[in-house]
């Protein structure tokens, strides 16, 4: 009897172990990088967010966009200086008032052998804006003022009325409501990539779920995808410019922990790794350390429903009180830079060929004396010392920056009290959307390489104008630049945008820019040619490996 019981116990334990030890079949991520001896080169990249989707109309995150840019090609692509260059569109004509673009397509093929046609673009764009797709990036067709985009998005017009037509297999016509200076650059963005109707419809809801449910027209093919672990690409020999591709295989590994990722990098198993802020000091002098700027700009959003914040003197005092250089260089230390205005550096280039910030200059300034002076004025206006609540995200960076700003404001505006309010990101955003905040440390990432992506945020009625900033002068400048007569004259438009930023940040202190995100990385010195685009998708297409 005793033995029987023991037998039952051990059988149960054994069954539990055996039943669970069967593992699911997975596509193996291959062992670490470098060359395999046959001259075939490989690069292994660590990613700290997992690949969400390969369906380029559903993607919303950088990781997915990077992967899609490897396997798909759009009409244009961005060169290393953020300028659009021909890709599937080998040339284009633009009509006189800049509203009709005619693209002439190169002889490119999908990986199932069918040619890439103008209709693939028409179908792709129609699917992007279709309500049935519910793409979070559908708005981007309205951003370029594509004809009928708003009405089609609202379901008032059929998809066929969208301002994109295939004149023949190799000619695509795009009609806009107004000129769009940044159109060609934006066409390199995955939302604008083509989709092969016949293949997509045959796949049904399995489309893009595995590497076997996709066809490709870009420089790489996806070969493996284990969600939560890794995904891999190999060179597409049928790519129409296959001879320009150097690296044969690219593997991505999803590693959330930067310290483990760095150990793998040091072991030679990884070639590209992101560093966290606190690791920068340890590695900044090593070969391979790379600092890249990101488009994200962090600023203090001010809620104009709060009576104190309607006082311009108070806002200016706050503007002068924040020491942006110290925040970027000593608090964050991750390659972030002080924000000179609300438009980040390296975002956009003007019609004169000059970088935007080079033209607009430095608008923000750290000046404790002026801060004190304006705060005294504000105190006189308001008749009391000011207490404000600073809302920020419960991340390491958010906390350190908020605490430093609190210190700045309380020191440079003697008498001012700042209370800190830390919330998770989703909560912070909801509070801002509901107007339940006073001052919030908030960020915006550009949707396209033009100042308008930031300046539109502060227009009356804009859905992201959480603080309800309202200025007639600003409104007039931006609307004239984007919708008025000046929209047709690139230089005039540019000048107006520069002026508008000066009104918003300089004259009104309607928003207080703080810093632009940087990203410190380690890249194996043998790997070159990764192109970082602050307002677009980072490109690993033109990498080389020595």
């Amino acid at each position: 009897m005793k033995k029987l019981k023991l037998l039952i116990v051990s059988t149960l334990v054994f069954a539990l172990v055996a039943g669970c030890s069967s593992k699911p079949a997975t596509n193996g991520g291959t062992e670490g990088g470098n060359t395999d001896g046959t001259g075939n080169s490989k690069v292994v990249v660590a990613t700290d967010t997992d690949l969400s989707t390969m369906d380029h109309h559903l993607a919303t995150d950088g990781t997915s966009f990077i992967a899609q840019t490897l396997v798909f090609s759009g009409l244009t692509e961005l060169d290393e200086n953020n300028m659009p260059i021909p890709e599937i569109a080998e040339s284009w004509d633009i009509n006189e008032d800049g509203t009709v673009y005619t693209f002439h397509l190169a002889d490119a093929k999908w990986s199932n052998g069918t040619p890439v046609t103008a209709n693939d673009f028409v179908y792709g764009w129609q699917r992007l804006i279709d309500q049935a797709t519910a793409s979070e990036y559908a708005f981007i067709l309205s951003t370029i003022t594509l004809k009928n985009a708003d009405a089609v998005a609202a379901g008032e017009l059929p998809l066929e009325e969208l301002g994109v037509k295939a004149l023949d297999d190799k000619t695509l016509e795009v009609t806009l409501d107004a000129p769009c200076d940044f159109l060609l650059g934006l066409l390199a963005f995955p939302s604008f990539f083509p989709l092969n109707q016949e293949y997509y419809e045959a796949q049904g809801d399995q489309y893009a779920k595995t590497p076997q449910n996709m066809i490709y027209n870009g420089p790489y093919l996806m070969t493996a995808w284990t969600p939560g672990n890794s995904y891999a690409f190999t060179k597409n020999n049928d790519y129409f410019k296959a001879d320009t591709i150097d690296v044969n295989d690219i593997d991505f590994k999803f590693i959330q922990d930067t310290q483990s990722a760095m150990l793998e990098y040091q072991s030679g198993n990884l070639d590209v790794v992101k560093l966290s802020g606190e690791m920068v000091d340890a590695y900044k002098d090593q070969e391979g350390f790379t600092n890249r700027l990101q488009g994200y700009l962090w600023y203090l959003s001010l809620n104009f429903d709060i009576p104190e914040l309607q006082n311009q003197n108070l806002r200016k005092a706050m503007m002068y009180a924040v020491d942006r250089e110290t925040i970027a260089n000593n608090v964050l230390k991750d390659g972030s830079v002080a924000a000179d205005g609300i438009i980040p550096i390296e975002l956009a280039t003007g019609p004169d060929g000059k970088e935007y910030r080079a033209t607009a200059g430095k608008i923000t300034e750290y000046d404790p004396a002026k801060a004190k002076e304006y705060y005294e004025k504000a105190k006189a206006d308001l008749g009391k010392d000011v207490t404000i609540d600073l809302l920020f995200e419960d991340t390491e960076a958010g906390k350190s920056v908020a605490e430093y700003i609190q210190n700045n404001l309380e020191t440079n505006c003697p008498g001012m009290t700042v209370t800190l309010n830390s919330k998770p990101k989703k909560t912070r955003l909801q509070m801002m959307q509901n107007g339940e905040y006073q001052v919030a440390l908030h960020r915006w990432g550009p949707d396209y390489a033009d100042p308008q992506t930031y300046l539109d945020l502060f227009l009356v009625g804009a859905s992201n104008n959480y603080g309800k900033y309202e200025s007639q002068a600003y409104q007039d400048l931006v609307l004239e630049a984007t919708q008025g007569e000046s929209a047709k004259d690139s230089q005039a438009r540019w000048d107006l945008l520069v002026q508008a930023e000066k009104v918003l940040v300089g004259d009104d202190a309607g928003v207080i820019p703080v810093y632009q995100n940087g990203g410190a990385m380690m890249i194996t010195p043998a790997v070159e040619g990764i192109e970082f685009h602050s307002a677009g998708v980072d490109s690993y297409r033109h990498m080389t490996r020595k």
Partner: protein
């Protein structure tokens, strides 16, 4: 006995249903949406909510979800692997988590038992002290510290095992996470074994056996260990669940595509269906393990079986 088990199973099912309801209710109050709150306009948010049925009233969604769940359908992911069936996402990761959890459990109990027995036999000597120190360290050192130390020294410096989990070679690449996870179990099992063993060794029947001249090792294995095991099996259940649910940090450090790290990601991203599926599976595991422990307890110790019959 079987009536007792049946009753326990029914109670377990009812508990799971309540858990599912509470989970649903908690997600209802979670701020934000699964979608890109930073950029979306109100019109798009309405469109997305309608597409995924999130615009339906609470009770409609709850009963739809519960109904689909009975068919094995946990809905789709909104963020992490967009539009993927949550069931397949969770099943893949479940086996990885279970594998590493069980490996850690087995390693932890064996090492813990041996340490505990040695400490008990060498009661009040330096060996005992050493075992106690190991136990205290095991209980008090957070698993991520130990995991990072392992990754650094064993994985990186010595290069003995891969640091990152690789589904192609699960045996080698799960060694480090298994050891990292087992530390807590080793410490706990060793402590319990030691104190139980000391009690048992002092009991009358062991002293009788001793006076009969039975060899020491035979005495330990045959007479003392069996009685020591009873209380230990009770702590093993919660320990196993602790291993499965507490592996999030270890999963993160070793890059393991497991359930724990998936749940954390899902919560951060408001990926509702994934949160519910993970939390539900964890709850089910917990309840299932407790059930098994209760049954095993009855099998091993006749006194309990008799008492329950009477009840």
């Amino acid at each position: 006995m079987s009536k007792y088990i049946l009753k326990r199973i029914l109670i377990s099912l009812a508990t799971l249903f309540v858990i599912l309801f509470v989970l649903f209710l908690m997600l209802e109050f979670m701020p934000g949406s699964p979608f890109n709150d930073e950029k979306l306009t109100e019109a798009q948010r309405i469109l997305l909510n309608a597409k995924y049925g999130l615009d339906q009233p609470f009770f409609v969604r709850f009963f739809n979800y519960a109904g689909n769940m009975l068919k094995g359908d946990f809905g789709v992911s909104y963020v992490i692997n967009k539009n993927f069936a949550v069931t397949s996402m969770v099943v893949d990761r479940f086996f990885v988590t279970i594998r590493i959890g069980l490996q850690a459990m087995i390693l932890g109990s064996i090492v813990g038992l041996v340490l505990g027995i040695i400490a008990a036999i060498k009661h009040n000597t330096w060996v005992d002290t050493l075992c106690s120190v190991i136990s205290i360290i095991g209980v008090s050192v957070p698993s991520y510290v130990f995991a990072l130390a392992l990754a650094y020294y064993v994985g990186f410096k010595m290069g003995l095992f891969p640091i990152l989990y690789n589904p192609a070679i699960p045996e080698q690449s799960s060694v480090l996470p298994t050891i990292a996870l087992s530390l807590f179990t080793i410490a706990n099992v060793a402590r319990f074994t030691r104190s139980e063993m000391i009690d048992v060794l002092g009991s009358d029947y062991v002293q009788l056996a001793q006076s009969k001249g039975i060899k020491e090792w035979k005495l330990i294995i045959k007479h003392a260990l069996r009685n020591t095991l009873i209380p230990i099996i009770t702590v093993m259940g919660p320990l196993l669940v602790g291993l499965l649910t507490g592996s999030m940090v270890v999963e993160k450090i070793f890059g393991i595509p497991g359930l724990g790290s998936l749940m954390v990601l899902a919560i951060q991203n408001n990926d509702y269906n994934v949160v519910i599926a993970c939390a539900f599976i964890y709850s089910a595991l917990y309840i299932f393990t407790m059930l098994i422990v209760d049954i095993l307890y009855g099998v091993i110790d006749p006194r309990i079986r008799v008492a329950k019959k009477g009840a």
